[in-house]
Symmetry: C2
Amino acid sequence: MGKLYKDKAHLFHEVYDYVVNRIGSKEWKEHDKLPSVRQLAEELQVNRLTVLKAYQLLKKHNKVYVKDKVGYYVQTPLPSLVDLDNLNNPIVTAYVQKNALSEIHQAKVKYNFSQALIDPSLLPNQYFSNYVKQVFDDYPKLLSTYSSVKGDEELRESLAAYFEKEYKTYVHGDNVMILSGSQQGIQLVAQTFIKPRDTVIIERPCFSAAIDIFESKGAKIVPIDITPTGYDLECLEHIMKQHKPRLFYLTPTFNNPTGYTVPTFQRKELVALAEKYRCLLVEDDAYHDIYFSEKPPTPVFTYDTVGTVIYLRSFSKYISPGLRMSIIICHHSIMEPLVSARFLMDNGSPLLNQKIFLRYFHSDRLQQHLDKLRIALQIRKEWMEGELANTTWQWHSPNGGLNLWVKLSDEISTDSLLSKALAHYISFVPGQVFDPSKQYKSWIRLSYSFSNEKLIKEGMEKIIQLNQE
Amino acid sequence: MGKLYKDKAHLFHEVYDYVVNRIGSKEWKEHDKLPSVRQLAEELQVNRLTVLKAYQLLKKHNKVYVKDKVGYYVQTPLPSLVDLDNLNNPIVTAYVQKNALSEIHQAKVKYNFSQALIDPSLLPNQYFSNYVKQVFDDYPKLLSTYSSVKGDEELRESLAAYFEKEYKTYVHGDNVMILSGSQQGIQLVAQTFIKPRDTVIIERPCFSAAIDIFESKGAKIVPIDITPTGYDLECLEHIMKQHKPRLFYLTPTFNNPTGYTVPTFQRKELVALAEKYRCLLVEDDAYHDIYFSEKPPTPVFTYDTVGTVIYLRSFSKYISPGLRMSIIICHHSIMEPLVSARFLMDNGSPLLNQKIFLRYFHSDRLQQHLDKLRIALQIRKEWMEGELANTTWQWHSPNGGLNLWVKLSDEISTDSLLSKALAHYISFVPGQVFDPSKQYKSWIRLSYSFSNEKLIKEGMEKIIQLNQE
């Protein structure tokens, strides 16, 4: 029996669930007789009254029926009002895809190389907790106030000023919208600008949720390869010419999963190409601040003057993922419908999270935290690469981000390696997840951000050994 | 000049904006010559270098061009990449609609009867601020943790237990999803279950954002009138039979804007009808806890046994709007695609807000706060009704909610009354906003929740007088 309900009085729900699960799994089929109250009470070691109460609720819910005054029988299930197979909705397809990845994430593992998340022990939890009280002192009516749809004005202006200072490019607070996570930004853009059968260019490989989002709007996906030296721009121009894409979703800085970065000269050309073919560039800059030896090139959006680039930037990922803090920067003509879509989507982010972030964003502690975090992540990366050096596997050492993109030998099946790995409490993500055409069968993504050095060393040794078995 | 930038170094951006606004408003047209640097510097009382810097940035951004080496001229505007008129996207239509309402909300008024929000001074701000620190002590890694897509398990289970206790109906934590506001729930449902040209039944009158959301998915809207005694169920059955609607979006408890409540016997029949015609019922229960003399009827979803009802319930509205806390309760077959859509939408609500709410939800203080709040709101309602009693206007005194739905004399134009009211710093919402067919021309919604008794008395006296002028 589960341990959901500590309260004895709720035991009968566990009995209820027990029966429902058996009916659901077809272990007990339509018109089968249920065990008698006495039998089930003994089997589950609960009071008979508990079982009786559960049976009565099952009857009320039309899951079972009564015959011969005493016997309980499995009811013919009523057809569900929502027939998933006939829903004809791309969301359902996305759901299946998502399940593949979330199954990996949900597996109980000791060596977690599948989550591109930062180890909570590297984050300033204690400091932040103390900080929050101060935020409430500064904004006593914080919890009773709605944010505007676009986000807190103070925060938007302060972020605009940050971008101006950092990149010497003019950004106004009105061109900034606060998001509850970058994924929301991708969703907003897709919802606003993508109609069924529009073409969307994505990088190959690409962050899987982005593919799901564009596919869920009925977009036709056309991939362009991303390599350690960027894109083949001739090929990109050819795609733009031929397919007239509505937008190109790109992660040119420490691409997920590869860690590759598009060089500065290509960034300028990208903007020119996009303007020429009237293709929006949706630049997702999730890992910008996680660099190692040197700062990455400035974002593509800084080369834009006419409103071609929609810029998404994450902040909370490497400070406090629990805050869900990202932003979108774009031209007024694009912002207007996005704000409208956001209004209908969730009416804006909670003000609390915005003000907490604002306070921290302005503190010296942020810079100190980032400096330390970069070093910690670089060391973890180097430990992982140290182990990989003992193999014939190939990878391009990234200058930032959270992942290594590793090519195994062609004959290795990453699926069977994953099964073996999971059985040994190790997780990673097979390459196909990042490609709608399911290539990259001999590639895997290894995240070095979630496990510490010791676990990285042990886990990598095990994977390498499993691969040789 | 605005007061955006306190920093002198940013003055040039104000100059920049000044020019952009004049070009945008066509005050300065294409190929017009801009004022000389000297002229504008004098006009705006800023340094000439500041103007020069702004002009240079305008040039860089292709807003102006230089001729004869010294003159600056307005550039032919480049076509925007996003042509709203040709976007052919229902979101844009919704935007126009939304603007009508948000213009009213944004007007600077002293007597605010347009916002169906609770006066922040009635909310437990100070208490909550102290509370939050405790939450961090209980969950030290709160800010470094993602919530699951569906929401925090502890919170979901505790809400399920609450519903079981309150309504004696079986709800499992798995049937609960945490939302960042109810509007997100409507959006999720619409996005998952509505295809273009599907029929959606709404109440007339109805919460305007809900209409916008369903229309933005291309739904065909069919209204059913809601009256102080509920719906005409024969008429509803006729609609269901004829239009085969995908869903019926209803707010049967203290409907917004009317405050009307659908009686218990109709609730049971509604579920039967919906099952018969395989029409989902989306029950939005935003004001359930704001009742006056007696508790409202139990929610429609408690009469559902097969998964016909999707139940939305708001909590934060009358505790801490800044938290954005609502939930959706539904059958497993409906929850599955909703979770998938939510994953793509924003990947779940921030954990921080959920844990803060959880702590408060379990405290005795919540009940005490609600008891006090109900009395305070009832008093405000009675003050407003006291003033209305001096007129020939008609309304049905509601037993809960935040609004009075008032019928003025037929000859009154609510639009012109609104213009006059706004000029006297009074706001309300004209009835047409709540009806896609723009009926209710002589009705208005007056919210008594945002202004205190004194302001209600003064403001109502003024409106009544304006109406007689």
